[in-house]
Each structure stands twice: as structure tokens, then as C-alpha cells.
């Protein structure tokens, strides 16, 4: 999503892709104890032999999400971080403008109309144990987890929506909160991922604190409480939509639009972890994240805030909070973004 890379969908033969996945699944583990290095070279696949199971993570991936699709695997993620964004010469593999022309506006209108139905309001208001802080902590854990599994941003957004909507229905004990987090992740992934994580992998991530039975039971309870209404409109969807719309309208270069989208997604990920942002609708957050990203990238022509059809006051309020969020989390943000984008953007954007 962030940027195309050689390992991504169009190219590899599936059989070969799988082997690469196995190797790359381990690649991040190798450097887990090193301080972050600013790489100029793309990450090379590491020889699996050089990694004698020095981490529990290998165990987690012993049945690697049987990924035949490289874009769904950590391979692609590693690639995304390290490979340059497409130059103008590269074909536009990330944007499906034709589909957008056919159905973009009607789908947007439909999703926009659904927003309030799926919007959890004050999900922690009636929680005796779960706090905004523990929610932040859980999501600060889930964000890297979803990246580690090579899951899409859409999955993460759906996870958070499922989590918050369940919290509005049911009091959850503090020591079950993490279980709810991975259960929500599982439900989200089953909807949109080609290869959802295995239950076993998720249990291992929680260090065996929960049993398979517990996870499956909670899955049933969540599905029941949410009446199987799971397909919420997400920030991810709206980011894609606005990006397509501005490219289609010729307002911005494709490469710039993709960079802004990648940066906006990073900001949006941060905002998912902060309870203060749950009061904003996904479409509002998406347009504000894009606007902020434009400023950080100093794009000559910032995104038009009107397509979201939100009142000016709400937009400015949300933008201001996002700016504060980015300011106090700039280190995290640089870790979440492709290097090229970090180098381009200013992490303390001025609002005016």
C-alpha cells in the first residue's frame, strides 16, 4: 500500500515468492537487538541458516501464513521500507483509476453513509478496568504485531473498530484485554486477508497466557455482540479514496500522492492508538491526516479539505490534535515510515 516494490504482487512467480517469504520472515529478527540503522541499501534476504532460532518469532512463523502472495507477507513490508518510491516512469500499479472511475464515487457515498452506524462512541465510558492508557498500550503493541505479520492497514483499522465497538457493549477485565486485542485482529484478518494469522501464532504472541478455547470463545462472543456487522468503513478506505480522487482530478503527481498517502497512513496509525481520536469519524481523520501529510511533505498544492464534507471547526480541531500527536511521537513515526519519506518530510509541520 505504501509503495510498490519489486517483491510486490505483479512480478513474482508464486512458488518462488514463497521461499523468499520464509527467508524474509526471519530477516527482521536478526536485527531485533540492534539500534535502528538508517539503511541506504535494500534489505537483503538473509540466509535462514545464519539464524539459529535466536528468537521466539521464528517459532511463531513455523507455518508462515503460507504466503503465496508476497504483498501479504513481511517480505513486502521489508521491501516497502527499503525500496524507493516509484518514479514517474513506473507504471501505476497501486492505483486502480479505472475501477475508481466506475465505482469510486458511489462506493464513497455508501461508505460515508455507513460511518455513523459503525462509529463507536465513548467506548471506554462504561469500562471499569480498561482505560485510555491501557488501550493505547494495547494498540502500541498491535501496530507492530500487524506489521510483523505483514497485514494490511485495512486489517488494523477493522481490528480497532471491532475492539472499540465490542468495548461499548461489554465490560472487559484488564487481564483479558490483550486477548480481546488479538481476537479482534483475528476477526478483522479473516475478513480481508488472504492468509490470516493462525490462532496458534496469536496465542504464542501472548506468551501462552490464553488458551485456544478462550480465544475461540471470545471470537464467538464478539461476533455475537456485534451481530456479525463487521465491515466498518475505515480510515484506510478513505485514504485510498482521497488519493485516487486527487490523482484522478489531476491535482497532484502520482508519486506525490502515494508519498502523502504513506505518510498519512503513518499518522493515522498513531491516531488509532490514541483514545482522543476515537471521537472523529474515519473520513474526517483520513482527510486531516492527508492534509497534515501534505504540509509535512511541503506539497505545493495541499489536499482539498472540502471532499470530506466536514465542518471547518471539526477539521481544524482534528488537524490541531494530529499535529500535537505527531510532535510528541515523532520518533515512533520515523520508525513506522519508509526512509525516503522520513527524509523528505518535516516532522514539525506548521499549521498555517
Amino acid at each position: 500500500m505504501v509503495a510498490p516494490c519489486p517483491t510486490s504482487p505483479a512480478s513474482p512467480a508464486t512458488g518462488v515468492g514463497r521461499r523468499d517469504n520464509d527467508q524474509n520472515l526471519r530477516a527482521p529478527v536478526k536485527k531485533s537487538r540492534r539500534p535502528r540503522l538508517r539503511r541506504k541499501q535494500p534489505l537483503q534476504p538473509l540466509n535462514p541458516c545464519s539464524l539459529p532460532g535466536d528468537s521466539g518469532v521464528c517459532d511463531l512463523f513455523e507455518s508462515p501464513s503460507s504466503g503465496s502472495d508476497s504483498a501479504d507477507s513481511p517480505t513486502a513490508w521489508a521491501g516497502r521500507r527499503c525500496n524507493p518510491l516509484p518514479g514517474p516512469t513506473q507504471p501505476l500499479v497501486q492505483l486502480d483509476l479505472q475501477n475508481f472511475r466506475d465505482y469510486g464515487q458511489s462506493c464513497y457515498a455508501f461508505r460515508k453513509a455507513q460511518e455513523s452506524h459503525f462509529h463507536p462512541r465513548e467506548s471506554l465510558a462504561r469500562q471499569p478496568q480498561v482505560t485510555a492508557e491501557s488501550r493505547c498500550k494495547l494498540l502500541s503493541w498491535l501496530i507492530p504485531v500487524h506489521r510483523q505479520f505483514g497485514l494490511s492497514f485495512e486489517s488494523l483499522c477493522l481490528t480497532v473498530n471491532t475492539l472499540d465497538r465490542f468495548l461499548t457493549t461489554t465490560p472487559v477485565a484488564a487481564d483479558c484485554f490483550q486477548l480481546l486485542g488479538v481476537t479482534s485482529l483475528l476477526i478483522a484478518c479473516k475478513q480481508v486477508e488472504v492468509h490470516p494469522p493462525r490462532v496458534k501464532q496469536l496465542l504464542a504472541l501472548c506468551c501462552g497466557a490464553f488458551s485456544r478455547q478462550q480465544l475461540c470463545n471470545l471470537e464467538c462472543i464478539v461476533l455475537h455482540k456485534l451481530h456479525f456487522s463487521l465491515g466498518a468503513p475505515t480510515i484506510s478506505f478513505f485514504l485510498e479514496h482521497f488519493t485516487h480522487a486527487r490523482v484522478e482530478a489531476g491535482q497532484v503527481e502520482v508519486s506525490e500522492a502515494l508519498e502523502a498517502q504513506a505518510l498519512a497512513q503513518g499518522v493515522a496509525e498513531l491516531s488509532l492508538a490514541d483514545y482522543a481520536f476515537t471521537s472523529y469519524a474515519p473520513s474526517l481523520l483520513a482527510i486531516c491526516c492527508l492534509a497534515l501529510a501534505d504540509r509535512m511533505l511541503r506539497l505545493p498544492r495541499a489536499v482539498d479539505l472540502s471532499p470530506g464534507e466536514h465542518p471547518e471547526a471539526a477539521l481544524q480541531d482534528c488537524l490541531g490534535k494530529l499535529q500535537l500527536l505527531v510532535a510528541i511521537n515523532s520518533t515512533s513515526l520515523t520508525h513506522m515510515l519508509p526512509l525516503e519519506i522520513c527524509e523528505k518530510c518535516s516532522l514539525s509541520p506548521s499549521l498555517k
Partner: protein, 469 residues
């Protein structure tokens, strides 16, 4: 006790493992796999209860996550949060209200067999619906890879239903197909999409209760070999496109179009069914597994290994089904493998090259030397009956385009000249109105047979009443 504020080296964190028990009772817990070969378990817990702005939510290092991928998010307004509660004041919630308490007992394997129900608010159900015993199970209608379909009868109002009973596997919880089908269909209300009445959740099974529609296009074509009545083909195709246009507008792909999945009522209403492989297509760049569509209806781009498909994926299947309804035989009945399937397609449409299909050479499985070079033909040479109906060949050729970008969309296909002799009111119907509510639109008897032979069970027509409000 273990107020880990600063990131700790992994070795030190290893010492924390014994604290897991104690921590599990406290505030909140993030448990991690330790990175050594003994696979000891550790849990790192953020215990800080301080409330200084921006400092109260330092997140613990996560050993499973490489250093440069860790994310620590600080909240913007932690001090002002009305819901912030100091951890040490929290008491456990009492069990009745607590979603998690029953797990302690259930892990012994004795979880409540209680029936959960989900009635969609708009479905015409009384409060008695949803219980497993509200439906009488009649004969088996079919068996799929993850579900068995039974004919059923509501004990409340005597209406016939189709019960799709999904076995809940132990390993991975609720099957993803069931989650997708239930969550998608809950949001889809259209006359040409099968209506989901109810969801019954028990310990062993998940049952989706659908309206009963008594046959499908595959059986219908078997019953009337040699091609269907041209007027009926038009009505079926119109309804198929109407249903697809509705889901494509929501960026949902069906991904498994085939005659077996198109249900046909005795009045001729066509309903898209079996959304187990469909998914909300909200990430356009997302790649999908290329093992999806039944081979005969699978588009060449997918056969060649493309995973970048969008709504045009379904449109190829529409073309195949259109030809099959008119001609009476499957358009591309490949007998062996993907190679054979592609050969059959290229035999009619011509072997693609970079001129006819830009980008085909970069598809993973496209090896020019593997395919015989065929030139493209008129479709009527392959399927003669296309020439009997005005504009049919043109529409078929616009759907059966090898290059996905050239395929007509469902919306555009509805405005094709082929449909121009249908009453204009058909384009103004509301979503839930059947096309048969328009005067003079009705199914014709198939050649040589009366409708009676096809639709003996007139009482089933009631199951369609939902689509006529």
C-alpha cells in the same frame, strides 16, 4: 514492583518472566515471547500510573518486534481523559458482566452450549426466530467444503428457508468464509441477492438462514438443454448485472460466479448466492489469492497469475454465463489444467500479445512460447446462437475481453443496446424491487416445455415476498 519505564535489554527482560503470574492480576498485560531458544515466556507490563502529560504511556519494548519497527504512541491528552482510572483502584468486574470470566471455566472445555442469535432488524422475523428449534430441518440440498445446506421450514410461519449449517472447526475458530458471508450479506439488501434472514450460533455450528429459492441456474440449464429462451436469457442477465452492479458499487467482489451460485426462483428471479469467497474490496492495491474462481469461469488474467484484480474479475464470469445460457454449453469447458483452460480461451479470442493486451508479458505465468498463436475470431464462429439475437454478440465480446481493463463494467453493461427492448421502468427500480414487479416482464416457457414442469412447487413463491415490498 516492575515499573519498567525505559526500554530494557532483552537479557534483563528475561528476568521478568517470573513476574508473569503477579502481573496477570494487575492493570494490563502485554505478553511476549522471549527471544531465546528455551522459549521461556515473559510478560512486560507497563505499570506506570503517573499522570504527567505525555509521559504516562511509555510503551514497553516488545521483543518480538525488531527495534526499528517498534511503535510507541503517546497520547495527546492523557491528563484530561475522563475515563482514566488509576490501576490500583480497579477491582475485577463481577462475573455476570464480564466477557472474560467464563473463559476460566470454559478452558476446561465446558463452554456454554447456549444458543446465540442474530436477527437482522429488517428481516421479517418474529422474536421467536433465531432459535435453533425455530426451524424444522428437511432434506439435504447440498454439501460444500465447509457447510451443508438443508431445506428447512420455519415453525413460526411455515415459510421455507435454506439452512446453511457451518461446522465450527476447533483449530481456527469460526471459518473465515462464514464470517465474510455473514458480515457481507448483513449489509446487502437487494432483490437480486439472496436474503439472509437469521444467524444461529451454537457451540458446534453456525447456521445461516436464507430465503428459500428452489433451483439454480445450473440445474435450470440442465433441465432445458440446448440453450435457454432468448427472452429469459435477457431477463436473467439483466438481473445478474443488477445484483453485481449493486455489490460492485460497494467494492465487493463475488469472486466465485458460476451457474451453481445463481439461484433461480420459480417466477424467474435470479439471486446471487454463496458469498463465502467474496470480500469487501476496500484496499485496491491488495492482492488476492489467485486460487479463487472455478476454472471454467476464471478470467485469463487470473489464470496467468495476476493478483491485481478488481471488479472486472466478476465481469468475465458474466460473459461466460451469458454465452452458456444462449448456446447451451459452457463457453470454455477446460478439461485439464490452467494451460488447457487458457488454450480454449485463446482459440476463440486470439492469443494475446503486448499490442492487444498491454502488460500481458509481465504476468507471472505468461510464456509466449507455451501458447499456440491463434488469431481472434468472431464470437459467432464459436457460438452460433449469439447471432440469433440482436446485439448479443457485441455484448458478449465486450465482456469476454482478455485484458481486464477492456471489460465492460456491470453498470455499463446494463446500458448496452442488447437490453434496449426492455421496459424503461426496469432501470428505475429500487434496490429491493424485483424486475417482475414491472408490468409485462415475465419469464417465458422454455421451448417444448411448460413452466409447470419447471416450477411445480408454487407455494415456494412466498419466499420471494420479501423482494416485493
Amino acid at each position: 514492583m516492575c515499573d519498567l519505564i525505559e526500554p530494557q535489554p532483552a537479557e534483563k527482560i528475561g528476568k521478568m518472566k517470573k513476574l508473569r503470574r503477579t502481573l496477570s492480576e494487575s492493570f494490563s498485560r502485554i505478553a511476549l515471547k522471549k527471544d531465546d531458544t528455551t522459549f521461556d515466556e515473559i510478560c512486560v507490563t507497563k505499570m506506570s500510573t503517573r499522570n504527567c502529560q505525555g509521559m504516562d504511556s511509555v510503551i514497553k519494548p516488545l521483543d518480538t518486534i525488531p527495534e526499528d519497527k517498534k511503535v510507541r504512541v503517546q497520547r495527546t491528552q492523557s491528563t484530561f481523559d475522563p475515563f482514566e482510572k488509576p490501576a490500583n483502584q480497579v477491582k475485577r468486574v463481577h462475573s455476570e458482566n464480564n466477557a472474560c470470566i467464563n473463559f476460566k471455566t470454559s478452558s476446561a472445555g465446558k463452554e456454554s452450549p447456549k444458543v446465540r442469535r442474530h436477527s437482522s432488524p429488517s428481516s421479517p422475523t418474529s422474536p421467536k426466530f433465531g432459535k435453533a428449534d425455530s426451524y424444522e430441518k428437511l432434506e439435504k440440498l447440498g454439501e460444500g467444503s465447509y457447510a451443508t445446506v438443508y431445506k428447512g421450514k420455519s415453525k413460526v410461519n411455515g415459510k421455507l428457508v435454506a439452512l446453511k449449517v457451518i461446522r465450527l472447526q476447533e483449530e481456527e475458530g469460526t471459518p473465515f468464509t462464514a464470517i465474510r458471508e455473514a458480515s457481507l450479506l448483513k449489509g446487502l439488501k437487494h432483490a437480486n441477492i439472496v436474503l439472509l434472514h437469521d444467524i444461529i450460533h451454537t457451540k458446534e455450528t453456525l447456521t445461516l438462514v436464507f430465503e428459500y429459492v428452489h433451483t439454480d441456474l445450473c440445474q435450470y440449464m440442465d433441465k432445458h438443454p440446448g440453450g435457454l429462451h432468448p427472452d429469459n436469457v435477457k431477463l436473467f442477465l439483466f438481473q445478474l448485472l443488477r445484483g453485481l452492479s449493486y455489490i460492485h458499487q460497494r467494492y465487493i467482489l463475488h469472486r466465485d460466479l458460476k451457474p451453481q451460485n445463481l439461484l433461480i426462483s420459480d417466477t424467474g428471479e435470479l439471486k446471487l448466492a454463496d458469498f463465502g469467497l467474496a470480500r469487501a474490496k476496500s484496499v485496491p492495491s491488495h492482492t488476492y489469492s489467485n486460487e479463487v474462481v472455478t476454472l471454467w469461469y476464471r478470467p485469463p488474467d487470473v489464470l496467468l497469475g495476476s493478483t491485481e484484480y478488481s471488479t472486472c474479475l466478476d465481469m468475465w464470469g458474466v460473459g461466460c454465463i451469458f454465452v452458456e445460457m444462449i448456446q447451451g454449453v459452457a463457453a470454455f469447458p477446460g478439461m485439464k489444467d490452467i494451460q488447457d483452460q487458457l488454450e480454449r480461451i485463446f482459440l476463440v479470442l486470439g492469443t494475446p500479445n503486448e499490442d492487444t493486451w498491454p502488460g500481458v508479458h509481465s504476468l507471472p505465468h505468461f510464456k509466449p512460447e507455451r501458447f499456440t498463436l491463434y488469431s481472434s475470431k468472431n464470437l459467432r464462429q464459436a457460438w452460433n446462437k449469439l447471432s440469433y439475437v440482436n446485439h448479443a454478440e457485441d455484448l458478449a465480446s465486450k465482456l469476454l475481453q482478455c485484458s481486464p481493463k477492456n471489460r465492460l463494467s456491470a453498470q455499463a453493461a446494463l446500458s448496452h443496446e442488447y437490453f434496449s427492448d426492455l421496459p424503461p421502468r426496469l432501470w428505475e427500480l429500487t434496490d429491493m424491487s424485483s424486475i417482475f414487479t414491472v408490468p409485462n416482464v415475465r419469464l417465458q416457457p422454455e421451448t417444448g416445455e411448460s413452466m409447470r414442469a419447471f416450477g411445480k412447487n408454487n407455494s415456494y413463491g412466498k419466499s420471494l415476498s420479501n423482494s416485493k415490498h
